[in-house]
């Protein structure tokens, strides 16, 4: 078996440092396997979040050689093992310990988005008729595993810390899934502009690039929502109409 070195960030909210852990690596291993090996053999108390180990739960988000990724889906064979592999927590969120960060902000943001509100049912038994074509978009968005890597890499959150003004790509995708659900009857366009800061996104597409589910976040979710906001608030004809109605 070959050996590789993993340079893992150890510390908490007060500070920390990278420590090197040389460990055996074998065929087919992913970064999370290496972290587990280090944890079992060299550092029993090393904090790491993980669950499914199959890219489905979105728990093991981290920055590997500087790139936001899921540890369970990053194969060692895709990394240069002649150099130490750096593994650090998501930097946009407050540290708890080692690779674990405080992502609770995301859970509170979600609550501020108006919940799903179905239109009246189509059939007497309370069911709806929906064409398969009409749900392709919301289904794409609902693939989201809430790993928050898109939030981690978003400049508005990471560099500007505007967590009070902006909900981030994850929750724009969440809003888009609701808005484009053919059964939903709620209107979230005012909130997008006024409460959720959609205007702050300047479409750099970093979120799309890191999404492990390959959701086309910017093009399919954010831009269409921006268009809805523009239609409602910046269309000159509608604006004039509002002036006359006194709205």
């Amino acid at each position: 078996m070959a050996k590789a070195t993993f340079r893992i960030w150890r510390g908490d909210a007060k500070g920390g440092e990278f420590r090197d852990y040389p460990t055996e690596v074998g065929e087919g291993m992913v970064v999370l396997d290496a972290v587990h090996a280090v944890q079992a053999e060299q550092a029993n108390d090393m904090a790491v979040r993980w669950n499914c180990k199959a890219g489905k739960c979105g728990s093991c988000s981290a920055e590997i050689n500087g790139m936001p990724k899921l540890m369970c889906m990053t194969r060692l064979s895709d990394l240069d093992l002649t150099q130490p592999v750096t593994i650090e927590p998501m930097r946009a969120f407050p540290s708890i310990r080692d690779l674990v960060t405080d992502v609770s902000w995301n859970f509170s943001v979600k609550k501020t988005i108006k919940k799903f509100k179905p239109r009246p049912a189509d059939n007497a038994d309370g069911t709806w008729r929906v064409d398969g074509v009409d749900i392709e978009r919301p289904q794409e968005f609902r693939k989201c595993i809430e790993c928050f890597l898109c939030q981690d890499v978003c400049h508005v959150i990471r560099d500007h810390g505007m967590t009070d003004e902006f909900i981030g790509p994850r929750f724009l995708v969440y809003t888009a899934a609701l808005e484009m659900n053919p059964i939903d009857a709620e209107d979230r366009v005012d909130d997008l502009k006024q409460k959720h800061g959609i205007g702050l996104c300047n479409i750099t597409k970093c979120c799309t690039k890191v999404c492990p589910e390959h959701i086309t976040i910017t093009d399919n979710a954010i831009i269409p929502l921006k268009e809805r906001v523009a239609d409602k608030f910046y269309d000159p004809v509608k604006r004039l109409f509002r002036v006359f109605r006194g709205g």
């Binding site: 108390d45 919940k115 609902r142 939903d184």
Partner: protein, 609 residues
């Protein structure tokens, strides 16, 4: 360091936030109860997200011959008639309403051509019955429940773990545990407690389950004096990944076979046609052609043998591997790529129907399932056994303690049908939430004594007092866990015998002694070594219960297969195995007769034979 004890009070406390826990919490809070919901991980990460194929409900959207009666009969046949028939009845009757309710809460299911919820074929289900979203149905379910639940005023405790239940006399009145992030002890007082903690997969080495599934709920209930039932029935899912080694055990959905995937040995033979059980013979295809037609929706065709029940398929795979006819890495081949001989645009079709399988193999094994066959083998997936509950209310044998989902026993008997788990979660999650809220309202809060709290607190922090794991002769927790997993895999796994299991019982005693001595390093904040030490006693109780029940059942039935008693024995069809903590603290086992099935249900079973 004196840790301050934080206290929380609720009418209903739900432990576990997968499909069952969330559904229970939603139901209880809808009645006006104050609800606390404890998750071991972050909200929305529980194992429900891993469920792939779908949720079984006789909505008859795709085949109008389906009805709750057929679903009931299928569930009983799959469970080899040791199921709690009342639960099987309620489940079949109520599942369609629970699916429709999910849609009304925002779930976006795949559709039929005429716009209804699409249903797919699955093992052991006579008609296409599984409402689904590609191969990520579990994610859709948990996200829908989560997003609905967060607007209900439920208090969610993320990354908390419960280590003991607290009682006032006979009744459960709360729970004691800790928060994983900070390591603070926590007291939860509640009028009623619902267990929804899932399974015990981590007792085995090769498993589709994550670190969370350490049988916490089984163990909490057992320690509180509740009865566990049918713990010998562990489901080994036939198709887990076998290569590369680091992903061994990760699930490959039965949906692959539902879409036409076939199993072959190294000689290219479809071995599943070699061994078709008598009670499924007239529901199984005569030849590959008929099997293919079935997967494509031909109502006159019978299902291919790859879609026989999981216990049977797992054993057939095991047989091929043992006979030297396996694939290079100790599994068999599962081929979906072959359907390109049958349909145009097969590649796109596979990617649309099985997107996460495509993704999983591409990324983890570097294998394109639209081109090459997968290598698969059995993996520990599910425990049919669990806390014995009343079928209607989901209350255990201890007042105030309820259980729903995988941690509860009864619905699935000796073997669970694929797709019956997601429906189980919402049908019985709802019932547990409803009756727990009712119980809490009638009885109010109970009293917790300081003695109980002191004992729970001592047990929680002891591992730190024993010092550093790995150093100075003190053992760390991981090694004990690995040794248990190796032993259970080898001695109480897919093929069992008396001698191995007796050896396992002795081994469990040794491991118990080691577990009481493990030490941990570091401090209390987010310390996985400590958490693993706290999970060990739970795993050991589950392992012992599985082994004792498996020794007692001297026959083969469903998920329980004994090479020293290969046949099914009718006299074992009349009882359930019950384990309970005896007055001396040791595990007691008894046979409990199964109540006679109601005449109308008997008739349904007969009519569907």
């Amino acid at each position: 360091m004196a840790a301050e004890l934080q206290t929380h009070e609720h009418d209903v406390l739900v432990i576990g936030a997968g499909g069952a826990g969330l559904r229970a919490a939603i139901e209880a809070s809808a009645t006006g109860a104050s609800v606390g919901l404890i998750c071991k991980s972050l909200l929305g990460k529980a194992h429900t997200v891993m469920a792939e194929g779908g949720m079984a409900a006789a909505m008859a959207n795709v085949d109008d011959r389906d009805s709750w009666k057929v679903h009931f009969a299928d569930t009983m046949r799959g469970g080899q008639y040791v199921n709690n028939w009342r639960m099987a009845e309620l489940h079949a009757q109520e599942a369609p309403a629970r699916v429709r309710e999910l849609e009304a809460w925002g779930a976006v299911f795949d559709r039929t051509r005429d716009g209804k919820i699409l249903q797919r074929n699955f093992g052991g289900h006579r008609y296409p019955r599984l409402a689904h979203v590609g191969d990520r149905t579990g994610l859709e379910m948990i996200r829908t429940l989560q997003d609905h639940g967060i607007h209900q005023g439920i208090q969610v405790y993320m990354e908390h773990t419960v280590t003991s239940l607290l009682k006032d006399g006979e009744r459960v009145v709360g729970a004691f545990g800790y928060d994983r992030e900070r390591g603070y002890p926590r007291l939860f007082r509640a009028g009623a407690v619902v267990l929804a903690t899932g399974g015990i997969g981590r007792a085995y080495k090769i498993t589709s389950n994550s670190w969370e599934y350490t049988g916490d709920g089984h163990s909490l209930a057992y320690q509180a004096g509740a009865e566990l039932m049918d713990m010998e029935f562990v489901q080994f899912h036939p198709t887990g990944m076998v290569w590369p080694p680091s992903v061994k055990g990760i699930l490959v959905t039965e949906g692959v076979r539902g879409e036409g995937g076939v199993l072959r040995n190294k000689d290219g033979k479809r071995f599943m046609f070699d061994d078709i059980p008598e009670n499924y013979r007239n529901q199984t295809a005569k030849d590959p052609e008929e099997g293919w037609r079935y997967t494509q929706g031909d109502k006159t065709a019978n299902r291919p043998p790859e879609l026989l029940t999981r216990d049977h398929v797992a054993r057939c795979i095991n047989r091929e591997v043992k006979a030297g006819r396996g694939s290079p890495h100790g599994g068999v081949f599962l081929d979906i790529a072959w359907i390109k001989e049958k349909i145009p645009k097969a590649r796109e079709h596979i990617q649309k129907k099985l997107p996460s399988m495509y993704h999983q193999f591409m990324q983890l094994a570097g294998l394109d399932i639209t081109v090459e066959p997968m290598e698969v083998g059995p993996t520990t997936h599910y425990v049919m056994g669990g806390v014995r509950v009343d079928g209607d209310t989901q209350m255990s044998s201890v007042p105030g303690l309820f259980a729903a989902g995988e941690v509860a026993a009864g619905l699935h008997g000796a073997n669970r049908l694929g797709g019956n788990s997601l429906s189980d979660l919402v049908v019985f999650g709802k019932r547990a939430g409803e009756y727990a809220a009712k119980f809490a309202k009638e009885k109010g809060a109970g009293k917790v004594t300081q003695d109980q709290l002191d004992a729970a607190s001592r047990a929680l922090f002891e591992p730190f007092d024993r010092g550093s794991g790995g150093a100075g002769g003190v053992e760390g927790p991981y090694k004990v866990q690995y040794d248990l997993q190796d032993m259970m895999q080898e001695k109480v796994g897919i093929v069992r015998n008396e001698a191995d299991m007796q050896a396992a019982l002795a081994g469990i005693e040794t491991l118990k002694a080691r577990a009481t001595k493990v030490g941990v390093v570091g401090n209390r904040e987010y310390n996985p070594g400590w958490h693993t030490a706290m999970d060990l006693p739970n795993l050991l109780i589950c392992a012992e219960a599985v082994t004792r029940c498996a020794i007692e059942r001297k026959e083969s039935r469903g998920g329980h297969f004994r090479e020293d008693f290969e046949a099914k024995d009718p006299k074992f069809a009349t009882f359930n195995n019950i384990v309970k903590k005896g007055p001396d603290g040791r595990m007691r086992l008894e046979r409990r007769p199964i109540p006679e099935m109601r005449a109308d249900l008997k008739q349904i079973v007969e009519e569907n034979k």
